[in-house]
């Protein structure tokens, strides 16, 4: 089928064409004030349980509380090789991929203040499918990793993309039946984000 490539390129090149100039760089309206606060406020709007914690030491109690609030067993899935060094007393930790009724605790490398978005570059200890398999995702984020906009995430990645970069703004939803929003279409029905200040 190598004929297709040349034929298509030839068809494009044979057109009478006025080439448009390289676009001017665009600068989006900037987020004012504290980035983590702006992030938390915007993501909360999308049915997400966002909690500000003083330190990593507060994470285990918050995880237990989120699970209790959802009437779920004290059991979570954490990816093997995850950078999250969590000691979760009283909570069973499983390492295999979560099923559709399970809870997962994930590490968030970056978040975006402009839209209230979690940014997950896939990598070692950060399997991409884990943001879609469970019914509840509890994401742990450091406040200092909140950046103003998507362009900043791209900069921090140094121009090299991972195989998958997932941007997540709230739990899975659908409006496909009568244009009325319902949560938990395929991905998590609930999303909790623990923002650790220091």
């Amino acid at each position: 089928m190598s004929g297709g490539r040349e034929a298509i390129l030839q068809s494009i090149r044979s057109r009478r064409l006025v080439q448009s100039p390289k676009p001017q760089p665009y600068s989006a309206p900037k987020t004012e004030g504290d980035l983590a606060e702006a992030f938390a406020q915007r993501l909360s709007f999308w049915q997400t349980d966002v909690r500000m914690l003083d330190s990593m030491a507060d994470v285990p109690a918050a995880v237990a509380d989120v699970l209790r609030g959802k009437n779920m067993a004290q059991r979570v899935h954490i990816a093997p090789d995850s950078a999250l060094a969590l000691d979760l007393p009283g909570i069973e930790v499983l390492r295999e991929p979560p099923g559709q009724n399970d809870a997962a605790v994930t590490e968030v490398p970056f978040a975006i203040a402009e839209t209230g978005t979690l940014a997950y570059p896939a990598g070692k200890g950060r399997p991409a499918s884990w943001h879609f398999r469970p019914v509840l995702e509890i994401a742990v984020l450091r406040a200092s990793d909140v950046v103003p906009e998507l362009e900043d995430v791209l900069k921090r990645l140094g121009g090299v993309l991972p195989s998958t970069l997932n941007l997540v703004s709230g739990p899975s939803r659908t409006g496909d039946i009568e244009q009325t929003m319902e949560l938990g279409a395929h991905g998590p029905k609930s999303l909790a984000v623990l923002v650790v200040k220091s």
């Binding site: 297709g4 006025v18 559709q100 896939a122 499918s129 941007l167 703004s169 991905g187």
Partner: protein
């Protein structure tokens, strides 16, 4: 179900008389229209954002060969393969070949209008491969053997009761006494059924909202997360998309991402944005082990350098559809084509041929709302007008219309005759009118079957214009006289 754009008029008439369609179309303004307006108002300078989006897409459309070859190099560098398909048949064969080479029997699919365009599903089924649509709306219409009626809300035309009927009829292994009254019960049932498909599929096929040339990435926006499970769980991911979706780099994608969800559903960002660049990395525990991109031309490249070139800027947000009075009256199925509403009217005659899709370009009031809301400023009415002109010049329009226009054009080039004709016409309409309205005439019966015409009030435009100019000339003469008299004092 109309599957032929040439049957548009008959199908539109049927749609107008379909009582089941009314509640769905009633939701168009309240849900899509209002949502977009609020999101645009909150953004700040949305006009500057539209200009930026237009410039990015214009650059891409006029540098397609460079960007596509760069995209190909970037994908290959990441261990992926790029395939080029001239038309629908070539695309179908390529995809079947990729699936057969991998021994794939079942395929999950994320939402992709291009795979609708190339009619991939029936072809795969005929060749022993089971495609399962996983976007909820697409899944529902697939079970019903219907095409999508809207490009971002495929089951737009259905009520929850119709969806429940469909699930009872299709999910026969589930308890027939279960309750599917609530929308959420329907969503949860589809979630459970489709999760099994995700876990057992041999390959996943998604579309792409954007391709990024520099990084070799395909980008999709979804709210459900089905596109991601489609990519990440099977061994192979195939992206099928149009050649015009490519842009220079991810920074351009970041700008377009601010336009797309706001224009589509009124969200500042969709729940999920997935940037998919090649197969899984060496240190990753999941993701596809093989990555293919099928680039489909299917009539797109021949629009470059023509009056219709701007339509290639389209990012398929559906804002034009959601604000179209024609779509709002007849819905999507009447078009008999993958792309409906104003974008269909501007695109279909170009890629399907004017002889097949001229009705779409004619189905417009030229109210201009579509161009006002288009995030990349496509002059949709101007392109529709272009297709109307092509239809006329090729002699494809009905003889009654070309003859009528011929008479009008003959008179319009002869001012004396035109003046006389207009006066006679105005007199005639006054004679035919009843209480200020003309309900019927011996000619143009088709037009009058569904419309009334107001009786002309007062004199013709040309007569009024002449009178105004005379008045104005007299006033200037008077003022001139006054100023002279002031100077004399």
């Amino acid at each position: 179900m109309n599957l032929d754009p040439r049957n548009f008029q008959q199908a539109a008439r049927e749609a107008l008389n379909d009582p089941l369609l009314r509640p769905a179309l009633g939701r168009m303004k309240t849900h899509f229209g209002a949502g977009r307006a609020a999101a645009v108002a909150r953004y700040g300078d949305f006009e500057a954002l539209r200009e930026a989006g237009k410039a990015i897409r214009d650059y891409a459309v006029t540098h397609l060969d460079e960007l596509l070859t760069q995209f190909e190099r970037s994908v290959v560098a990441r261990g992926g393969t790029v395939h080029w398909a001239r038309d629908a048949a070539e695309a179908r064969d390529l995809i079947l070949g990729i699936l057969r080479d991998a021994g794939a029997k079942t395929v999950t699919k994320g939402k992709s209008m291009v795979t609708e365009e190339i009619a991939l599903n029936p072809f795969l089924e005929a060749n022993g491969i089971v495609p399962v649509e996983t976007d909820l709306g697409e899944y529902i219409v697939q079970l019903r053997h219907e095409p999508p009626s809207h490009i971002i809300a495929p089951a737009f035309h259905l009520s929850k009761e119709q969806v429940a009927e469909t699930f009872f009829a299709s999910h026969t292994d589930l308890d027939p006494k279960r309750s599917l009254v609530e929308r959420n019960a329907l969503v949860q049932e589809a979630r459970a059924v489709l999760r099994r498909s995700f876990e057992s599929a041999d390959a996943g096929i998604t579309g792409a909202n954007f391709l990024s040339a520099k990084e070799g990435a395909a980008v999709i926006v979804t709210n459900e997360g089905n596109g991601d499970l489609t990519r990440l769980l099977p061994k192979m991911h195939i992206v099928v998309t149009g050649i015009e979706k490519v842009v220079a780099d991810m920074n351009d994608v970041a700008v377009l991402l601010r336009l797309l969800p706001r224009s589509a559903t009124g969200q500042p960002i969709s729940t999920y944005v997935s940037v998919m660049a090649g197969r899984r990395g060496a240190d990753e525990s999941d993701g596809p082990q093989a990555f293919h991109v099928v680039l489909v031309d299917n009539g797109r490249s021949k629009l470059i350098g023509t009056e219709a070139q701007d339509v290639l800027r389209c990012i398929r947000c559906s804002a034009c559809i959601n604000h179209c009075p024609i779509y709002g009256a007849i819905g999507g199925h009447a078009y008999g084509a993958t792309y409906m509403g104003p974008i269909g009217a501007a695109l279909n005659p170009g890629v399907m041929g004017v002889e097949n899709a001229a009705h779409h370009a004619n189905a417009s009031t030229f109210c201009g709302r579509c161009a006002e809301v288009c995030p990349v400023k496509i002059p949709l009415p101007r392109i529709m007008r272009h297709w109307r002109a092509v239809e006329h010049s090729k002699g494809l329009a009905p003889r009654s219309i070309t003859a009528g226009l011929g008479v009008w054009a003959f008179a319009a080039k002869r001012p004396g005759l035109y003046r006389l004709g207009a006066s006679v016409m105005a007199w005639f309409l006054r004679m035919m009118g009843r209480r200020g309205t003309v309900h019927a005439l011996p000619v143009m019966q088709g037009w009058f079957a569904v419309r009334d015409f107001p009786v002309p009030q007062g004199r013709t435009f040309q007569a009024q214009w002449k009178a105004r100019r005379q008045n104005a000339a007299e006033r200037i003469g008077l003022e001139g006289g006054n100023s002279r008299s002031r100077q004399q004092r």
